[in-house]
Symmetry: C3
Subunit: 174 residues, 3 copies
């Protein structure tokens, strides 16, 4: 009996570890898909990475550390996100540029019955048409993720920028 | 019987997940080894990361998006890769510099019987002898990977640069 | 019997793979925690990521490649680490700045009975108060990691910088 008991424990533990690993990989896959959607300039697909009522917010580290609720960008629901992209398309006709996201330090902090809390560090590199490459933004993302129709999507994403400003009036989603 | 059936399903699923995880880690290990080979300046070891008839190609995002087949660098087989490295060694005697690859967003897209399709984002930072550090290149790699003699190697690697140019005539492999 | 034998082998193999995966994730989690401790400016918590007698060393690639033991920074034990942080706090009162670590290419090289040998590539981006963002440092870390009281901590960390200098007299831990 003892042997069986141990074996069952191991099996349960191994099964929990496997599910932790799988969850982590799924979160990383969502981060990868998100980054690629933006880097591919498929911005119109960006709102679908959130739930219908999803929240997207960009703030600075300075404001975040002070507990200020000031946001540089705030979208409450996919509708506002769509509006944002439309505005961006209208504004950015003069200066072609591309972005490259690098994600690191992904941490799955909590996984309740129906919601995952995760965070990561990021840097976005911007390449101008003439070839100049600069660090566009870096910082951290704080995310709440849920499963909808079999895939992970953002319930909310808070982007905290290390810098107090970014080099455009209408920024791409980060 | 029902219990056994469920248990078997779980076991099969768990085993598939484990093999997915292992594959992903092996692909990441190959990417890591590739990056390190170049960052260590062991460029002569670079061709051995491909199959004998391996293809290596560097293009710009602009050309890639337009479907143009123009390549900034094209090597068809290890022989051309070796030639490339020899030329690089002859040319780059004046300006010592080192490179640092960061890889992110690794995605295993497809895994057929004998070939893996994968991609990733990258940034390469160049450090000049005097200490100046700049973004040398960033973009995405599209890879076909096969197993040969028990280890993963590239069948082909396509590097798509965000920039339309790089800051040297004879670039290192990316 | 043959079937059973194969099944046992698979089980053993699968269990080893799972433990490899778990170890890798734990090492990545330690790297993530380390980066975040510094990026959060919780420098006083930094020494506790090492064992009491832990060693921390920063050198340049140039010196490292030549086998020179010259270090830009060397701490032997938590006491020296605490002193380092105190000095840093005193010196850095004029120029507020924040750091963002990106880690890539994590490799678990060896796992003996009681010690893990691992390495990774990194880049640190520095953001000045006025918003200017630059590459502060990049290179590779070589680590010896042990388990103490149920969590992983550094026994030693060697940071090898690509650049021969960094842009401050008293640098943050990397």
């Amino acid at each position: 009996m003892h042997g069986v008991h141990v074996s069952l424990q191991q099996s349960t533990q191994s099964s929990r570890l496997t599910s932790d690993l799988v969850l982590r990989l799924r979160v990383e896959a969502l981060y990868g898909e998100y980054a690629q959607t933006i880097d591919d300039d498929r911005l119109e697909d960006w709102p679908a990475l959130f739930v219908e009522s999803g929240k997207y917010q960009v703030t600075t580290r300075e404001n975040h550390d002070k507990g200020l609720l000031l946001a540089m960008m705030y979208c409450d629901g996919r509708g506002m996100m769509n509006d944002r992209i439309s505005a961006l398309r209208l504004a950015n006709i003069y200066e072609p540029q591309v972005y490259c996201h690098l994600i690191s330090g992904v941490r799955v902090l909590e996984c309740a019955a129906d919601e995952i809390s995760a965070q990561a560090s990021f840097v976005v590199i911007r390449t101008m048409q003439e070839g100049q490459q600069t660090i566009f933004a870096c910082g951290r993302t704080f995310d709440r993720i849920v499963e909808a129709e079999g895939r992970l999507v953002f319930k909310s994403r808070l982007v905290v920028l290390d810098s107090r400003q970014v080099d455009t009036l209408l920024v791409i989603p980060i």
